[in-house]
């Protein structure tokens, strides 16, 4: 049964409806898949966003980077090893795109590392196939000027997720360890909007930040610009493993939920257009690492399987039947649940190359009460 992607939904703002109509006119197949997601969820099916980490190359070295432990620079400097595992290539991406499409999955995020330093970025977009999938890219904004934003739009990228860590220029630059990065973000905002790209700002919430005037300023800034502000809780993984004091408390999450009433701000737990998933592990997001491992969220370094060995469907099924990952829950598993954080920290500490393979971290014998 076909779902009319342009059908008026009273729950949508005029702006969101206009965006959907525009997409339906240009990419009806993608729009139709996106429009079916709620219908799929009602049947117990899932359509997670696929985050694709083809390369971890990055021009930044951020204090809170969740990918740092995957990077060659970390493996070489800290562990004195080279990662010789098989890497995903364009053929693997094409195959993944086809498998995902057959499952009704509709969204890919190119992430990293910094995607815009990838020499084969355009080829990756083509391999995903922007006529089959809604393509999003993460970026720190350093290389996103008017010309690059226009080019992204031309090759089929629909949306940019741009990282901004503080409205105080010095704080952002310090957090990102990159002088001048705040100014580049501001330039990238204008460039993305000028190019007609959908844009959301992405920021990391560390403990206590939700109460600050600076955070409220960022909420106001995004709302006045009519940009969504996506808030990612700091998780005790990657570089943040060394900063447990960044991990939020429930009060931070609750303050954010109050700010959602006033500003265009949201987290991955925020109900969205009738979808009340709570924590989105597997149900709403998965990550494909450069070695083809699939993890249930960007911050959990334990694999559910490898795309070179196991079908995407079986990997997703493993995730959904896992008692930590499949069930509905209102909190962030890796950002808030102390028992899971402890388990994850203990297991991942024993591995130099991440993620921990299926069967050694997650497995079908997992139990909440071990």
């Amino acid at each position: 049964m076909s779902t009319d992607a342009t059908a008026l939904d009273p729950a949508l703002s005029a702006g969101e409806q206009a965006k959907r109509n525009d997409l339906a006119a240009r990419k009806p197949y993608v729009a139709d898949k996106l429009a079916r997601i709620n219908e799929m969820e009602a049947k117990g099916e899932i359509s997670p966003i696929i985050r694709l980490e083809k390369s971890y190359l990055c021009n930044f070295k951020c204090t809170h980077c969740s990918a740092e432990y995957y990077m060659d620079r970390h493996l070489e400097k800290i562990h004195h090893i080279q990662d010789d595992r098989r890497k995903i290539d364009l053929e693997a991406i094409k195959k993944l795109s086809d498998e995902a499409d057959k499952l009704g999955i509709a969204r890919f995020v190119i992430t990293g590392g910094e995607p815009l330093v990838m020499k084969d970025f355009d080829d990756v977009v083509a391999a995903i196939d922007p006529d089959k999938h809604y393509v999003i890219t993460d970026t720190n904004g350093w290389f996103l000027d008017d010309a690059r934003a226009k080019h992204l739009k031309e090759i089929g990228v629909e949306k940019v997720q741009l990282s901004l860590d503080s409205m105080i220029e010095e704080e952002h630059d310090n957090f990102r360890n990159k002088p001048g990065s705040y100014k580049r973000v501001m330039r990238a905002i204008d460039a993305s909007l000028n190019a007609g790209l959908n844009l959301i700002l992405s920021t990391v919430l560390v403990r206590g930040r939700a109460k600050t005037e600076e955070f409220r300023e960022m909420c106001k800034f995004a709302t006045e610009k009519r940009i969504g502000l996506y808030v990612s809780y700091a998780k005790p993984t990657g570089s943040c493993t060394e900063h447990p004091e960044f991990v939020i408390q429930k009060e931070d999450a609750d303050i954010l939920r109050e700010l959602e009433k006033e500003y265009n701000v949201f987290s991955h737990m925020t109900p969205s257009y009738g979808s009340f998933k709570g924590c989105i592990t597997v149900k709403g997001i998965i990550t494909v690492t450069s070695t083809g491992e699939i993890t249930p969220c960007p911050y959990i370094d334990m694999s559910l399987g490898n795309i070179f060995q196991t079908s995407l469907k079986e990997i997703l099924d493993r995730g959904m039947r896992n008692p930590w990952l499949g069930p509905n829950r209102p909190d962030c598993l890796i950002g808030e649940d102390p028992a899971f954080i402890k388990k994850h920290t203990e297991i991942t500490a024993g591995y130099k190359t991440l993620p921990v393979p299926w069967g050694e971290g997650f497995s079908d014998s997992d139990c909440l009460t071990d």
């Binding site: 009060e251 509905n328 209102p330 909440l368």
Partner: protein, 255 residues
């Protein structure tokens, strides 16, 4: 002797066919309400409807029911978990969805706003409830509604079915004494009027509570109330027979 509840007041699953978590972490839980019976009585009268029973009679009923539970070694553990007494004014039987929409949800909303004027009660449900909700078999909820048609009902609400699927909670009722029933909409809402902060926690998350005794023509569908930060939401979702640790159904002990 068969102890029916564990040391935390959770109902110990019997030999159930439906999905249930045999052991739970109690990560999603309610704190024990610090209630006042006078306040509960006053709120029920103000927000749900006029009561026939006097406040002293209400208090006597509650005291007696708590004593009855405490003195039964098979039941006593139930009082180690969270619970809240409630009173519902007499209500002639009518369409359950209509009463939910026109009486009980507005009562929960008004009681919530009275206690938490800075926060919101939101009805997110977009699907019709009129002429759709019915009492599921073997839940004993129908008996409570029949009693309610004759007189005010005093009860105690326990979110004791955490980690149970709705089907498992319904099955489990058959292993409990006759004074127990599975909570539907009237009694769950009664408990939330009695203590609007039942699902409010500042240092952790409370469970989502289902109207487990109710069903529709779609066996995968259910209605529930849950906290969202400091706010309260009514909604509907597909439970698909699952037994998530975040989900609880309520157990009611009534007069």
């Amino acid at each position: 002797m068969t102890v029916l509840f564990d040391a935390n007041g959770r109902c110990i699953p019997g030999p159930l066919e439906a999905k249930v978590q045999r052991k739970v972490r109690r990560y999603f839980r309610c704190d024990q309400p610090k209630y006042s019976l006078n306040d509960i009585y006053e709120r029920a009268g103000r927000f749900i409807g006029e009561l026939t029973l006097g406040v002293e009679e209400f208090k006597e009923h509650v005291t007696r029911m708590i004593r009855e539970i405490r003195e039964d070694p098979n039941l006593a553990n139930l009082l180690s978990g969270p619970f809240v007494p409630f009173i519902l004014p007499q209500q002639p039987e009518d369409d359950i969805g209509k009463l939910l929409q026109q009486k009980y949800l507005p009562a929960v909303a008004n009681a919530f706003y009275d206690t938490y004027p800075n926060y919101e009660f939101i009805d997110h449900n977009k699907t019709p409830v009129l002429d759709r909700l019915r009492v599921a078999a073997a839940t004993r909820h129908q008996e409570l509604l029949e009693k309610l048609a004759d007189s005010d009902v005093v009860g105690i609400y326990f979110p004791a079915f955490d980690g149970y699927s709705l089907a498992a909670a319904r099955e489990q009722i058959s292993y409990l004494p006759p004074s127990f029933s599975l909570a539907g909409s009237a009694d769950t809402c009664g408990a939330l009027v009695a203590y609007p902060g039942l699902l409010m926690r500042h240092d952790g998350y409370a469970p989502l509570v289902w109207f487990g005794a109710l069903e529709t023509e779609n066996s995968d569908e259910g209605f529930h109330i849950e906290a969202y930060g400091y706010n309260l939401n009514f909604n509907r979702r597909m439970h698909l027979g699952n037994a998530d640790e975040y989900w609880a159904s309520g157990l009611v002990f009534s007069n």
